[in-house]
């Protein structure tokens, strides 16, 4: 399906990442946004608030992030595509509802424009400290998808992708921006609507009597209906059977929860996305995501100039993690260097996949600003020497 032209501002724009994310959401067909103001994410909802009256959207500023993160789920069951937008402290408040969306298989998008934490931390300054929280933040086991844009252009493109993935797999998708990308202004090209691919919601259309809301057809993802369609659906955060009815037994748990995990795990090869630059033949591979990919480039270029064989692997989809690819590279490269604006989160994934076959070096930073490329360069140089 193609995007509805009504929402699409086709053309070349000069936009910051936050505003670009808003435009991506509108182009993706999002017509319900609930949020609560928090720096550095507020511009996303501010733009939504000014644009929505003209595109038939509903924006509501809720009383807090807990309310926002469940209002969007009510809206999804009412038939809308919906998202909420926040930053660290608000993201922490939303965790219970990420679990609810995972459990009830409610497709929706959570945007987190990361700032430095913990707690109130550095409200206006960047970090990438919520990466593990995005994966594991709600209690219990579930599968999740998270994306990490590194430019205003990607804030547009990948917001659309986030909505599409959420519909395809019926999962909440985490859109992990950071303050730098959110507030950086660059050229953003918005294509014509007929060049924007949209994944529509998979609605069940068979006979009413045969419908089982949580029965899957081999692909691990059940079909949806919405409130008001006459199916008398029941949706619960309790462990439920295929009818959607609470069934608090071990067999039901053993059937449902692995499916929630496996629908992402088994489809990971289709979901993962990364960008490689000179990885084949490299001795050192720098693994980056978001803003860190850009601060790493001068360091990588400098090292290459000096004759080191350095590859760059940038995660676009962060969760699921490209474990196959990292495993494959581990037997061929000397070292992985992982710069991130936290004190060691995604590096743990790299270490897990490398499993001792190569060196893994973190270039950590507690956030507040971006890395000095020199610090990344120094670690590359040290790693290249072995």
């Amino acid at each position: 399906m193609k995007a509805d032209p009504k929402g699409v501002l086709t053309g070349s724009h000069f936009l910051d990442g936050d505003h670009s994310c808003s435009e991506g959401a509108i182009a993706a067909g999002c017509r319900f946004v609930a949020g609560y103001p928090i720096t550095p994410s507020t511009e996303v909802v501010e733009r939504i608030a000014s644009r929505f009256p003209y595109v038939g959207g509903m924006f509501i500023q809720m009383e807090d992030e807990i309310a926002s993160s469940i209002a969007i789920q009510g809206a999804v069951w009412g038939g809308k595509k919906a998202m909420t937008v926040t930053s660290g402290p608000g993201f922490s408040l939303m965790m219970e509802h990420i679990g609810l969306a995972a459990m009830t298989e409610t497709p929706c998008v959570f945007v987190d424009v990361q700032r430095a934490g913990p707690s109130t931390g550095l409200p206006t300054q960047p970090a990438q400290g919520d990466m593990m929280q995005a994966r594991w933040g709600s209690h219990g086991d579930y599968g999740i998808i998270a994306l990490s844009p590194n430019s205003p252009q990607e804030c547009f493109d990948l917001t659309i992708k986030a909505f599409n993935l959420s519909e395809q797999y019926r999962v909440p998708v985490m859109f992990m921006m950071d303050e730098c990308v959110g507030h950086m202004t660059e050229r953003v090209v918005i294509p014509p609507a007929d060049q924007i691919e949209i994944v529509p919601r998979k609605f069940y259309e068979g006979p009413k009597a045969d419908y089982l809301p949580y029965k899957t057809n081999g692909d691990l993802v059940p079909m949806m209906v919405k409130a008001g369609d006459g199916y008398n659906i029941h949706v619960t955060g309790l462990t439920h059977d295929e009818r959607g009815y609470p069934s608090m037994t071990v067999p039901t748990q053993e059937k449902l929860i692995p499916r929630l995990v496996n629908k992402i795990k088994h489809n990971a090869p289709k979901i993962v996305e990364y960008v490689e630059d000179q990885v084949d033949g490299a001795e050192v591979v720098v693994v980056t995501f978001g803003i860190t990919s850009r601060t790493s480039i001068p360091a990588i270029e400098q090292a290459r100039k000096e004759g080191m064989k350095v590859g760059h692997l940038r995660l676009v989809v962060v969760w699921p993690f490209p474990e196959e690819r990292i495993r494959e590279l581990a037997s061929r490269v000397r070292a992985f260097v992982v710069p991130e604006l936290n004190l060691g989160q995604m590096v743990l994934e790299v270490e897990r996949c490398v499993a001792g076959k190569a060196r893994v070096e973190l270039v950590g930073h507690p956030g507040g600003t971006v890395h000095n490329p020199k610090d990344i360069y120094n670690v590359i140089k040290k790693s290249a020497k072995g």
Binding site: G56, M62, G74, A227, G228, T236, G237
Partner: protein
């Protein structure tokens, strides 16, 4: 003979409420003497005579014994998280304004953990009906103190009695802007049915507080008998005072209960206010939001 038997069976009155329930989920989890089931019966009767298109009715609950209502109602029904039925319902209603959205939940759910959402939905006048079952305690988790537990009553976390002032919920709802406010008890089945029906017919945030016995964890612990004794207490101590000033009707431990309809007024709903405002401000460019 066989024919006669058949006739006898035919004449057994049909329980019309059953069609509103997911009978395949019976028996329900509620204790003998619990008041929640009685209120569901009233709710079903109210729906039956409401004239509403049942396909467009959704019930949203939070978590608790009362929170299980959504799971037994044979309509679109959502069992959300503790305290968050109202913001879920807000999203549902605003996504599809054609829906009639009812929040059915407990006193702890809606006024402790969910208190913030309650006051804001009333303030915004989001079009929904909130049915709150006040059993003065957190039933589901074992009878802890709630914001509705009367002074001096005992709960598992106030073993020597409660020393916190409790909410006067009709007063809270009215002061936040609810357009319909009533209080009844599980004893007043006819009044309650009528009140729910009126609330359903109302546009805007309508609120019905229902006092209901929790014999297992409130009345027995407080040595005031079981479910039946609580019903007798409601019968003997309730005073119907329609139009009473909500300020004057707080509840006290085993005290007098003022019941009735206290507020019934008009005020633009959230959606009507938004559409009207934008039409004035933005003129023809604005497409009124219809969901």
């Amino acid at each position: 003979m066989a024919e006669e038997l058949f006739e006898i069976e035919e004449s057994v009155p049909v329980n019309t409420v059953e069609s509103f329930l997911r009978m395949e989920r019976m028996p329900h989890i509620w204790c003998p003497g619990c008041g929640i089931g009685t209120t569901v019966n009233c709710f079903a009767h109210a729906l039956e005579t409401s004239g509403l298109d049942l396909q467009k009715v959704s019930v949203v609950s939070g978590i608790g014994c009362t929170g299980r209502v959504a799971g037994y109602i044979n309509l679109d029904s959502f069992h959300t998280t503790h305290g968050r039925a109202i913001p879920f319902a807000t999203g549902l209603k605003l996504a599809n304004p054609e829906l009639k959205v009812i929040v059915y939940s407990g006193d702890g759910d809606l006024t402790a953990i969910g208190g913030n959402h309650f006051i804001h939905a009333a303030r915004r006048n989001v079009d929904m009906t909130v049915i709150l079952i006040n059993n003065f305690t957190y039933g589901m988790t074992g009878g802890q103190v709630a914001p509705t537990t009367p002074l001096s009553a005992t709960a598992s976390t106030t073993p020597y009695g409660n020393y916190e002032q409790s909410f006067n919920l009709p007063y809270l709802a009215e002061s936040c802007g609810a357009v319909y406010v009533a209080r009844w008890t599980a004893f007043h089945v006819r009044h309650l049915t009528k009140a729910i029906k009126e609330a359903l017919a109302k546009k805007g945030f309508s609120f019905v507080e229902v006092l209901a016995p929790c014999p297992t964890l409130y009345s027995r612990r407080n040595k005031i008998g079981d479910g039946l004794d609580q019903m007798i207490y409601y019968k003997d101590n309730s005073e119907i005072r329609n139009g009473a000033d909500t300020k004057t009707i707080p509840l006290e431990f085993q005290g007098k209960i003022v019941v009735g309809k206290f507020v019934d007024k008009e005020r633009p709903t959230y959606l009507d206010a938004m559409n009207e405002f934008y039409q004035q401000k933005l003129g023809e460019d604005y497409i009124p939001y219809k969901g």
